[in-house]
Amino acid sequence: MELQSKYKTLRDVPQIDYLAPGGSLCAGCGGLLAVRLFHKVLGKNVVWVNAAGCMTIMVNYPLVPLKSNWLYTAFASAPAGAQGIRDAFDILIRKGKIPESEDLKVVVLTGDGAAYDIGLQSTSGAIYRNLDFYYLCYDNQAYGNTGFQVSSATPVGSATATTPPVPSEPAGNIQKRKDLFEIWRAHNPPYIATLSSSYTVDFLRKVEKGSTFKGPKLYISLAGCPTGWGYDPRETIREEKLAVETGIWPLKEAVEGKVKHTVVPRALKPVEEYLATQSRYQHLFNPVRRKEVIRSIQEQVNLYWEEASKREDFEIKLVNT
């Protein structure tokens, strides 16, 4: 049975903020917006276990925007830190040393660098042990914190500091993104979802739905990055919306392994509309138009949606290549 959600429109965004302003992140940070919305649903009893990444900079000691709790770990070990906290709470509550009302929800917070690359094995271990925790990956598709170097979440065609378009590789990054959603799904956790702050109601509902499960609840949120992607900070929501509308960022969930797309655009917009707005893709348009790269990105998107529509039996109009 479908859960009756309390989030129906944008007006239902909870009006309590668990983050104070004044952090040190870039203006218009999509990752911070994701953290803010996520926190609103979970409430105040949360401990964030943060791997190295952009969100480290959210806290500029002694100035801390978080009104909840925060544990900072090394790049690879946030899920291990989460395990320690979860176990400690479980034991203390069982022994009656702290009341159950003081229990905290344990949330791992990592960027795509920690989620896709450096912390993948500790995440795998935590899911395998069926750790009762949340995992929020803000995916800005590169190592944004250190100057936008390529990560295994960087899409094909994106220029980064380490994959600039050069004569031998005019397309920028040539490696395909890892499909983290599927990697996680292969571990059989109870709940996985992809998010985008621009689809706020969908975002809030998924976090709400996930919290009804015991065990690992894993989220990958698109995080528009004005600095790394190269667009005006005011466009963060537009960029994320375009990513969904072009089909580049599918919004979906997997409940007990069963995948369902929660937002299905009736007709996909051409990927070009999204790519052209960001300077990390400018080399695909200037000085010469790299048709073959743009077409192959479009083909990948088409292929994804064609398969998904067959599997889940929905209608979608693809873009002709």
Binding site: A20, P21, G28, V64, T227, P233, R234
Partner: protein, 332 residues
């Protein structure tokens, strides 16, 4: 026999070394050094780092020795950034930060009030300050400067908005600095702008616009005599105030204490709500990444200007277009 040969050889070598003077002083070190030290103060994203590079490259084209380097902390776009350029007709033996600049380029007037940026620190006697503003009068509101420090100003941001459509003033600031220093020809500046902006991957069209902007600024200012002769270094004793740990404790343990950072000074434009038009739809509230916008009783937004970084998502997303933008001009 070979042993003896080696012995003799060794002796000869020793002799050779001993007859040479111990310290070699090339002629050029006996001349008076000419060196200009420029320090740029900007905000991340404004182009301070690129400005220092353009100035460096332009001077290099003129045959000078140059150094340029930026410094920024862990903070991002909008946070204070400092960059340095040293220009000399001889080898530059200094390294690191410029603590005693001959010329300060203040790219953002709000930095004048920033305790972190400390913009006028160490300015030399007869040095100069350039402020990106219509008038330089606001410097007097924040600092008392020695009377021989010269002050120049020009509204670079307005020119950049007009010519580039963006408030990025790397080439404009470099042009201002190059003109004020007075050692660089306009053609060298143009060459430097093209070289540096090509390197960071700007489109040809944008580079052209930047060159135009650079030319405009270059021709609007007059050179100042800035080159200083070496060297008036003195040891300084910096008196430190006694602060007990309790003085800061309350702020440190306060929940959500990041508010005191007052990131509102990062803004270049500020969003202003038109309450007549506002329909209290709360879209701006949902999308504000900074939590710098609260909803009033009537559901309409109130912007926390102390902390709003000016990303302008609220302006862009507002369905009835009830949020306008205004250029931020007053330093706080």
């Amino acid at each position: 026999m070979p042993l003896i040969t080696n012995y003799f050889l060794a002796l000869t070598l020793d002799f050779y070394i001993l007859t040479q003077p111990l310290i070699v002083i090339p002629d050029k070190f006996l001349m008076i050094l000419m060196i200009v030290r420029v320090r740029f103060h900007g905000r991340g994203g404004q182009g301070a780092k690129t400005a220092s590079r353009i100035l460096g490259t332009a001077s290099f084209v003129e045959g000078m020795n140059v150094q340029d380097s930026p410094v920024y902390g862990a903070e991002r776009r909008g946070a204070p950034v400092t960059a340095f350029t040293r220009i000399s007709d001889s080898e530059i033996l200094e390294r690191g930060y410029v603590f005693d600049p001959d010329l300060l380029i203040v790219m953002d007037a709000t930095l004048l009030a920033s305790p972190v940026a400390k913009v006028t620190d160490g300015i030399r006697k007869k040095g100069a300050i350039f402020l990106n503003a219509q008038s330089a009068n606001i410097i007097g509101e924040h600092y008392t400067l020695p009377s021989d420090v010269r002050i120049a100003s020009y509204d670079l941001t307005s020119s950049a908005m007009e010519m580039l459509g963006k408030p990025i003033i790397s080439s404009a600031s470099a042009a201002a600095a190059a003109r004020l220093v007075g050692l660089v020809k306009e053609s060298s500046l143009e060459q430097a702008i093209v070289t540096e902006l090509e390197e960071i991957g700007l489109s040809e069209e944008m580079i052209k616009k930047n060159v135009m902007l650079g030319r405009k600024i270059f021709s609007s200012l007059e050179p100042l005599e800035l080159a200083t002769e070496e060297s008036e270094k003195k040891l300084r004793i910096v008196p430190l105030e006694m602060i007990t740990s309790n003085d800061g404790l309350e702020d440190i343990i306060a929940v959500g204490n990041s508010k005191v950072a007052k990131t509102g000074s990062w803004r270049i434009f500020k969003p202003v709500v038109d309450y007549e038009k506002c329909t209290a739809c709360t879209v701006c509230y949902a999308y504000c990444p900074e939590s710098a916008l609260i909803l009033r009783q009537d559901g309409k937004p109130e912007i926390d200007y102390d902390n709003c970084k000016g990303c302008l998502i609220c302006y862009r997303e507002c369905p009835p277009k009830a949020i306008n933008i205004e250029r931020e001009v007053i330093a706080f």
